[in-house]
Symmetry: C2
DNA sequence: GAGTGTGAATGTATTCACAGCA
DNA sequence: TGCTGTGAATACATTCACACTC
């Protein structure tokens, strides 16, 4: 394993490698060049990415698919079960409650919270919705690890505070708000909307072409 | 305007600045430092990002909110109307058809396609669904600029080919498949799932801590 | 004085190219 | 011989610091 620390972007590429490894026979072999071709990168990039975390291949032979797959799953932390509380059962919240991909990766949304009385005590995708005043009690009782914030920006900080108060140490923020949390709490912002907003820019690619190009 | 070309990441930050500028009075003034504080970065970064595209401020005074907002909208290409055809009315496709944020940014999903006979000729969010065999005719008739692919990986390439055949020059690929399109066609891949998959990695942050940390 | 605009300095990520092992 | 693993070279992005303008 190299002494270099992985670049910020390495995890994203590992997850891409993993996606392709999952479509293959576990006892097969694969070279960095083959894997690279599948995800659209270079063999050197694949080897470098893997080398940050260990030595998983055999020189002259390549990698054993099943082994490599297992290693990447470990590196990404996908071998663990995460119990999650979702806060905010609006459009995005509902979509995430229904998204089957979470469960596959060990993300287990156990309970949801919303202030809307029409939602409280109802279920979405088999997950019970409670009022936020029950949060501290519920989160402790269920042994939940992580909170997902899918409320509007205005109430995002309030939701974060409540999660922290409930003993949560990891927060995923899907709202556009910039949150402040005490140091030991891990915070990750996930921003889908910005990604969608910059699409025309990337489609036009060069600034000079913007406006003159596609929409005629 | 500086001679340097903008880094790949500049557009994403511009969209963040824009989001905050939109919440403010257009005739107000704002300094790079203030804007920076709102999005959680430095004044220098804000100024540098803007300088790639022009000179929008006044020394000693700052930026006029409305002017800057307009400039960023132009840079990101959000001042144009884009007519879009969506291919694949599954979970993600439906969510995108219903997502109100597109319309706000000039993204106008005009028609959708799906092979499922139960969907053909029905509507989702007021948008008519047609069978793909009608694609070339429909796309030309409606004067559509861009295609959005939200089908499963297996049929993504097929959908892309059909879009290209229909005269489309810009494709947004939401499927995990790596697509091949002829040179003049602009292709952008949008990958939500990978972003979700690497969450545990980022939450644990350092490799050493993975597995030992949060889920106790 | 206040705050922009931007080269120059630093830091980070990617690519190259080859030594080393099966 | 074939393909990994990795330091060294290059390219890219961010931060610094200050000249310049209102």
């Amino acid at each position: 394993m190299s002494k270099e620390k992985p670049p910020e972007s390495a995890a994203l590429r590992l997850s891409l490698y993993l996606r392709h490894l999952r479509t293959m026979q576990g006892d097969g072999k694969i070279s960095s060049a083959e894997l690279a071709r599948m995800v659209g990168t270079s063999g050197a990039r694949v080897r470098k990415d893997l080398s940050y975390f260990g030595q998983f291949g055999t020189r002259g032979r390549g990698y054993v698919v099943g082994d490599l797959r297992g290693q990447i799953i470990d590196i990404l932390g996908l071998n663990q079960e995460w119990k999650i509380a979702l806060v905010g059962v609006g459009k995005l919240g509902t979509a995430l409650l229904r998204y089957p991909g979470f469960r596959r990766n060990g993300f287990h949304i156990t309970v949801a919270f919303d202030v809307n009385p029409e939602l409280v005590e109802r279920e979405v995708a088999g997950i019970e919705i409670r009022h936020p005043y029950q949060m501290p009690k519920t989160i402790r009782a269920l042994g939940i690890h992580m909170g997902m914030i899918t409320v509007p920006a205005e109430s995002a900080q309030e939701s974060a505070d409540l999660l922290v108060l409930s003993g949560i140490r990891a927060i995923l923020n899907f709202s556009p708000a910039r949150l402040v949390v005490p140091a030991p709490v891990r915070l990750k912002n996930v921003d889908f909307t910005s990604q969608l907003e910059i699409i025309p820019y990337h489609i036009a690619e060069t600034v000079a072409l913007t406006g003159s190009m596609l929409p005629r």
